[in-house]
C-alpha cells in the first residue's frame, strides 16, 4: 500500500470516535494509511484548516460541508463526503429552571408533548420581553436544523418566538451553567457534562426528532479526492472497520478509555461511556435511561453517504437562511455526498452496499429490506417526529408544506 498520511481535524466530541479508533486500534495501519489527529475548539477552525490544506480531512458537521460547497459567507470550495461518521447522538438540554417550568419528567418525553409545554413557556417569556434563548453549535449544524425543525413543528417560530445563538461544543455546558442560554443542542459528552454538573436536564435526544438524522461526516476537499483517490478509499475502509468495532458488544469500555484521553476529548470517561452505550442520564443524580440508537454508527449502512441526506440538509439551509430554492444549488449540495467513493472503497468486502444513492427520508415506519448490490441491507424506522417524509426530488413541494 501507499503509506500515506491523513491529517484529520476534529472537535472533542464522542462522534469523533471513528477516526480516533481507526488510528489507535490499528485499522488505518492495516489499510496502509497513517492518521494524525488535529484537535480544535471551533468548527470555523476545523473548516479553515481543511480548506487551506492544514489538514487532509475533517470530522465535520454535515451542513457546514454543504454550506462551504455552496459558498455561503465565503468563496465556494468543492468538498466531498465519502463517509458518514454517524447518525444522531445529540441532545437538547434545558437549564434546570426551564426543565421545571416545562415540567420535564424522569424519562424522555414525547417531542410533541414537551414542545407544547415549551411553547407556553416561550410565549410567556417573549411577552415578558425576555425570550428563551437556545445555543446551537454552529449556524450550519444539524443541531441548528434539528432544533429548528422541532420548534417549528410544535408551533414555536425559531426566528421570532425564541433566540438561537451559537456556542461551540466545548463551551455549551458552560454557557448553560452560566445562565447565558436556557437550553443547548449539542453533541456528547457536553449534554451529560451539563447534567453531571447539575446545570441542566436532558429534554430530548435528537434521534426523537429524526430517528435516522445524518450527523458528522468525513469531509475531504474534492481536489484531494482527485489526486489521492486510492488513499481516500483506504481511509474509508479503515473508518468502516473502526465503526464495526465501535458497535461490537464489549468494546465500549476500551473506546471510552481512549476517547477520554487528554489529547482527544479530555472529558470524563463515565459520561463518554454512557453515550456510547445509549444510556443517558437525564437528570442530575438520576439513573441512566436506556434509549436505543441514541448514537448510530454502523448498522443499516449508517456510514453510506445518501445523496438524499445532503438534499434534506440543503432544504433546511434554504428554509432557515430564507433563500429561494435553486435547482443548481440543490444539485451542488447533493453532489457533496459521494456514494460512488464509498462503494468503490468497500466493493468486495462484506459491507452491504445500497443499490440506490438516494431514498425517501423519513418514509419508514417499520424495518424493511432494501435493495443492495452487495450484502443484505435492512433499514430501520427513520421517521421524523411529525411523520412528514422528504422526497429529494421535490424539495420545493416539501418546503411549501413545512410550517
Amino acid at each position: 500500500m501507499t503509506g500515506e498520511t491523513f491529517r484529520i481535524g476534529f472537535l472533542p466530541l464522542v462522534d469523533a470516535a471513528l477516526p480516533i479508533l481507526a488510528h489507535e486500534l490499528g485499522f488505518a495501519a492495516r489499510e496502509g494509511v497513517a492518521i494524525e489527529l488535529v484537535r480544535d475548539m471551533t468548527w470555523a477552525t476545523v473548516r479553515d484548516r481543511l480548506l487551506y490544506g492544514h489538514t487532509d480531512a475533517a470530522h465535520l458537521i454535515a451542513p457546514l460541508a454543504i454550506a462551504t460547497a455552496l459558498g455561503r459567507d465565503r468563496p465556494a470550495v468543492s468538498l466531498a463526503v465519502p463517509f458518514v461518521l454517524g447518525l444522531n447522538g445529540n441532545a437538547v438540554t434545558f437549564s434546570s429552571a426551564l426543565a421545571i417550568e416545562v415540567g420535564l419528567g424522569e424519562t424522555l418525553g414525547d417531542p410533541a408533548a414537551v414542545g407544547a409545554a415549551l411553547k407556553r413557556v416561550a410565549a410567556a417569556r417573549k411577552a415578558a420581553g425576555n425570550p428563551l434563548r437556545f445555543g446551537v453549535v454552529h449556524r450550519y449544524s444539524s443541531h441548528n436544523y434539528m432544533l429548528r425543525y422541532w420548534l417549528a413543528g410544535v408551533g414555536i417560530q425559531p426566528d421570532a418566538d425564541v433566540e438561537i445563538v451559537v456556542t461551540s461544543p466545548p463551551f455549551a455546558a458552560d454557557a448553560l451553567a452560566a445562565g447565558e442560554v436556557d437550553g443547548i443542542c449539542v453533541g456528547e459528552p457536553w449534554n451529560s457534562i451539563a447534567v453531571d454538573r447539575g446545570a441542566g436536564h436532558i429534554a430530548l435526544a435528537t434521534a426523537q426528532i429524526w430517528r435516522r438524522g445524518v450527523e458528522k461526516v468525513l469531509a475531504v476537499r474534492s481536489d484531494v479526492v482527485e489526486t489521492r483517490r486510492s488513499a481516500v478509499e483506504a481511509l474509508v475502509r479503515a473508518l468502516h472497520a473502526a465503526a464495526a468495532r465501535f458497535v461490537e458488544p464489549g468494546t465500549a469500555e476500551e473506546s471510552a478509555d481512549i476517547l477520554a484521553r487528554r489529547e482527544y476529548l479530555d472529558a470524563p470517561r463515565e459520561a463518554i461511556l454512557r453515550a456510547i452505550t445509549d444510556r443517558i442520564r437525564l437528570v442530575p443524580g438520576g439513573a441512566p435511561v436506556h434509549y436505543p440508537d441514541f448514537m448510530f454508527q454502523y448498522r443499516e449502512a449508517a456510514n453510506f453517504p445518501w445523496r438524499s441526506q445532503a438534499a434534506w440538509l440543503y432544504s433546511q439551509l434554504v428554509r432557515w437562511d430564507h433563500l429561494a430554492f435553486s435547482p443548481a444549488d440543490a444539485a451542488t449540495a447533493s453532489a457533496v455526498f459521494r456514494p460512488d467513493i464509498y462503494r468503490a472503497a468497500l466493493a468486495g468486502s462484506g459491507a452491504p452496499l445500497p443499490g440506490a444513492s438516494s431514498k425517501l427520508e423519513g418514509g419508514l415506519a417499520e424495518p424493511i429490506g432494501a435493495g443492495s448490490t452487495q450484502g443484505r441491507l435492512m433499514l430501520g424506522s427513520d421517521r421524523f417526529f411529525d411523520h412528514r417524509a422528504f422526497d429529494p426530488d421535490d424539495i420545493p413541494g416539501y418546503l411549501s408544506e413545512l410550517p
Binding site: 471551533t42 479553515d48 451559537v166
Partner: protein, 197 residues
C-alpha cells in the same frame, strides 16, 4: 485616496494584539480597534463597525463571530468573507501563522493584502518570541533542577560542588542522557527514598 480602513483585532493574547496593532500603526494603518477578549464580542464589533476583522485562528469565539457576520449581512451590513480564494498561497501562509480574517464584501484585494501580510509577519514574530521565552524558561527550570540534585549529592556523599557536577555529568555521558534528566531522576528518588532531613 481611499478613506482610512478600520481594522478590529480580536485575540485571546493581549500581548499579540498589541504587537499587531503596533505593526499596523507603523504601516500607517491607524484606525484600529482592539477588542477586549474578556468583554462581549459581538457588542464590541457592532460598536466598532470595522471593515476588516483580524482574529487568531484558534479563537474560541469564531463560530459565534461567523454567526454574527451572517446575521448582520441579513440585516444591513455585509461583512462575511474570508480572504480572497484567488490568493491561496497568501491565505495558506495566514492559516499557517494562525491568522484568520473577515473583510467587508467588496473591499479590494489590494487594500486587504498588506494588512493580512503584516498580521502574518507579526504573528510569526510573536510565535518566535514565545518559543524563545519557553526555551529560556525551560533552561532556567533545568538549571534549578541540576542545582538541587548537586546539593543532594553533596550532602549524601560528602563531596564538593565540582565533584557533584562531575558525577552527574559522568552518569549522563555513560547513559547517553542529558544532565537535566539525571538530575530529575535524583530528585525523584530523593522524594521517594530520602529521609526527609
Amino acid at each position: 485616496m481611499a478613506r482610512a480602513m478600520r481594522i478590529a483585532i480580536i485575540d485571546t493574547s493581549t500581548t499579540r494584539a498589541a504587537i499587531i496593532s503596533d505593526g499596523l500603526r507603523e504601516a500607517g494603518l491607524d484606525d484600529l480597534v482592539v477588542i477586549d477578549p474578556a468583554g462581549p464580542l459581538v457588542a464590541q464589533i457592532e460598536a466598532a463597525q470595522p471593515e476588516v476583522v483580524l482574529v487568531n485562528l484558534e479563537n474560541p469565539g469564531r463560530d459565534l463571530l461567523e454567526d454574527f457576520f451572517a446575521m448582520s449581512r441579513a440585516l444591513a451590513r455585509p461583512i462575511a468573507m474570508f480572504v480572497d480564494q484567488s490568493d491561496a498561497e497568501a491565505t495558506g501562509a495566514a492559516i499557517d501563522a494562525g491568522v484568520s480574517a473577515y473583510v467587508v464584501d467588496g473591499l479590494s484585494k489590494q487594500r486587504i493584502k498588506p494588512v493580512i501580510d503584516l498580521a502574518v509577519r507579526r504573528f510569526q514574530a510573536f510565535s518566535r518570541l514565545q518559543r524563545e521565552l519557553d526555551e529560556a524558561k525551560s533552561a532556567l527550570a533545568e538549571r534549578a533542577t541540576i542545582d538541587r540534585a548537586k546539593a543532594i549529592l553533596m550532602k549524601r556523599r560528602g563531596i564538593d560542588e565540582p565533584a557533584a557536577y562531575a558525577l552527574l555529568r559522568g552518569q549522563a555521558m555513560r547513559s547517553s542522557r542529558r544532565i537535566a534528566e539525571i538530575a530529575e531522576a535524583i530528585l525523584t528518588s530523593e522524594a521517594l527514598m530520602g529521609d526527609g532531613a
